[in-house]
Amino acid sequence: MIASILAVLPAAEGIPNPSIPTSWVLLLAALLFILGIYGFLVRRDLIVVFMSIELMLNAANLTFLAAARERMLDPEGQVYAIFVITVAAVEAAVGLALLIAWFRLRATLDVETAVELEG
């Protein structure tokens, strides 16, 4: 079966590992993206929801790089992927800061109100 799909999809010459069809990578990226959406819809644990979002971003990155490979390693796709990694790291940091603030407030709600009355 694999051989038949390979025959349908000839990969371009001169790109790294041409025996792997780009459409397979696209399919895997789509699978990761759908897994991410599924996790976001099903799970209520906020940290796991953040992790699902990371899966979605990685799916997008994989698509970018697969497309860049098909164009002889186009630097645009690679640059985009680096920016996405940067933004994802910032997003994780901001998300965890908000999460920690929220849990702290939930744990010490009565203490907080007392502080507010004082000040």
Partner: protein, 574 residues
């Protein structure tokens, strides 16, 4: 490598306003550092040192390169910042809680000034100019929307100075961090409408979003604010993940990152091929990211909670500035679908449906709200629906009389101009309304509608201004809101969407009820006397009166603003 310094300066000039905002952020952090230890000596040494160094740099650039660059606004601004910091230290030692706000206002004002200069150059020229290797597109459309974002920043940082929960102790309440996030979000929004490159769109949209999430959570110790920020972040990240995956598909199949080139590609490719289907998925996913920012149903669910929980200046920024730039980028994106008669009609009908559902939902849900900010949150959803009316009419499709099939699509500028005018009018009236909410909440200590009973008589100027804003939001002449609705409705009718205009008209009548309820409560005679005497805020009231004046001015003389909007729409290039 040979660096061409003159071309650097030319390119820097095109993003001058955003650079000023980034500089403002740095100055904010520096001023904050000076305040931390209450070590006045350091402040006295550092403030002049940094200012003089920066001013010397500004002098050096033209002097050493021999290139004639005009830097006097920046020079003036730095001097003003220096004056503010030192005078506050000298005169109001320990009570200088307005300093970060003043610095942010100076920065925003400078950025507005620079944009005005840029606008004078760009309007009338017509053609778009590119800089930074095509990343930044300077045209009338972009300058107008950047101006809206920058004005929003100016007014909201002014509001922040008077916002009670952040007044008591600016160090502890994080006013500096808040204003830095506000300025960064505005800069992100301004970049967003200045570019048509998918990479830069993503980055500036994330700058806007991440700084917005942070602002929403800046009321420490407030449970609603914390919850709202978390909710905003999670749904926002998912929406941007959708958008990013859409972008990756668009790049994947076209190999291009610039919107116009993707548009050309879309028109040439066979749309029913598997690649075409995946491209369509990409376009739809991208639009879902914008729809989230625009609070279009079904991507609206975060809006009421976030608008209620956020600090009021942030609510004002999100409902005006963030929305304006998101509409801007959506219009730029629609640009690439012009002439595509296979998918564009479907998209237009989808948008029409979204407009109807959005405005009806927003208005019906606003009817029974008791919290002022939440009410304006729903009203903001409804207004997004009205604005979408102009977007729907962006294309007109010719039917072939013989076959009854669609023959060609063409751009219909009226819709764009109407949306741009609407965004401007909405800036005046909605910022004014939120300013009035801050003013009244400072007096009552609450944001419930019940609690503003009779306050209109206590502060008649602000009460009167609030009435003007409410009239304008409803769309009653002689206010800017009336003409905004008038243009949008007329564009809808001209574009062949009569039924849409009728639905919008019915919605306007519904909205009359809840806006009227606020006005009635404001001027109800038997006002409760149980509010504290807050420090008077004549400067906040002055800005509100200015906004009210603007609302009335554009309600009586809309012609010039309408011309500007039309020219901006034309500059998109058809």
């Amino acid at each position: 490598m040979d660096y061409d310094f003159a071309s650097y300066l030319r390119d820097l000039r095109t993003i001058g306003p955003e650079l000023i905002l980034c500089g403002t952020i740095l100055v904010l952090f520096l001023v904050d550092l000076w305040r931390i230890g209450r070590n006045r000596t350091i402040s006295w040494v550092l403030a002049p040192l940094v200012t003089f160094a920066a001013c010397y740099g500004l002098y050096l650039v033209p002097a050493t390169t021999g290139i004639d660059v005009d830097l006097w606004p920046e020079f003036l601004g730095l001097t003003a910042v220096y004056a503010v910091v030192t005078v506050a230290d000298l005169r109001w030692r320990g009570r200088d809680r307005w300093v970060p706000g003043a610095v942010a206002v100076i920065g925003a004002a400078l950025a507005c000034l620079r944009l005005w200069q840029q606008g004078v150059e760009v309007f009338g020229e017509g053609a778009a100019a590119f800089s930074w290797g095509g990343l930044v597109r300077v045209d009338a459309f972009g300058v107008l929307l950047r101006g809206l974002a920058c004005l929003t920043l100016l007014v909201t940082s002014w509001f922040t100075i008077f916002y009670a929960p952040m007044r008591r102790d600016p160090g502890a309440k994080g006013v500096t961090e808040f204003l830095a996030c506000l300025a960064a979000a505005a800069a992100g929004g301004m970049f967003l409408v200045a570019t048509e490159n998918l990479l830069f769109i993503y980055l500036s949209l994330e700058l806007l979003s991440l700084c917005s999430y942070l602002q929403v959570g800046m009321l420490k110790g407030d449970r609603r604010s914390s919850e709202a920020s978390l909710k905003y972040l999670i749904y926002g990240s998912v929406a941007s993940g959708f958008m990013l995956f859409g972008f990756s598909l668009l790049y994947g199949f076209s190999g291009e990152l610039a919107i116009p080139k993707i548009g050309q590609f879309l028109q040439t490719m066979p749309r029913h091929s598997p690649e075409g289907v995946l491209m369509t998925v990409g376009v739809l996913l991208s639009f879902s990211g914008f729809a989230y920012k625009l609070t279009l149903v079904p991507f609206h669910f975060w809006a009421p909670d976030v608008y209620e929980g956020a600090p009021t200046p942030t609510t004002a920024f999100l409902s005006v500035g963030s929305k304006a730039v998101s509409f801007g980028i959506m219009l730029r994106f629609l640009h690439m679908l012009t002439g595509d008669i296979v998918w564009a009609p479907g998209l237009v009908h989808l948008a029409a449906l979204a407009a109807v559902v959005t405005m009806t939902y927003g208005n019906l849900a606003a009817l029974h709200q008791s919290n002022l900010k939440r009410l304006f949150g729903y009203s903001s959803i409804a207004h997004a629906g009205y604005m979408l009316l102009g977007v729907v009419t962006v294309f007109q499709f010719m039917e072939d009389p013989a076959t009854g099939l669609l023959r060609e699509g063409r751009f219909f500028g009226e819709g764009y101009a109407a949306v741009l005018f609407y965004l401007g009018a909405y800036l005046l009236m909605n910022l004014g309304a939120f300013g009035a909410v801050i003013f009244l909440a400072n007096r009552t200590g609450s944001e419930e509608i019940e609690d503003i009973r009779g306050l209109g008589w206590k502060s008649p100027w602000v009460g009167g201004a609030f009435i003007v804003f409410l009239l304008s939001l409803t769309g009653i002449p002689p206010t800017a809101g009336f003409f905004a609705k008038w243009y949008v409705f007329r564009a809808a009718i001209d574009g062949g969407f009569l039924w849409l205009a009728v639905v919008a008209g019915i919605n306007t009548v519904i909205s009359l009820f809840y806006y009227f309820r606020i006005g009635r409560m404001l001027f109800l005679r038997d006002g409760s006397e149980a509010f504290f005497e807050a420090p008077r805020a004549p400067w906040l009231a002055a800005v509100l009166l200015l906004l009210a004046f603007g609302t009335l001015w554009f309600g009586v003389f809309p012609g010039a603003a309408r011309e500007v909007a039309a020219e901006a729409a034309r500059s998109l290039g058809w």
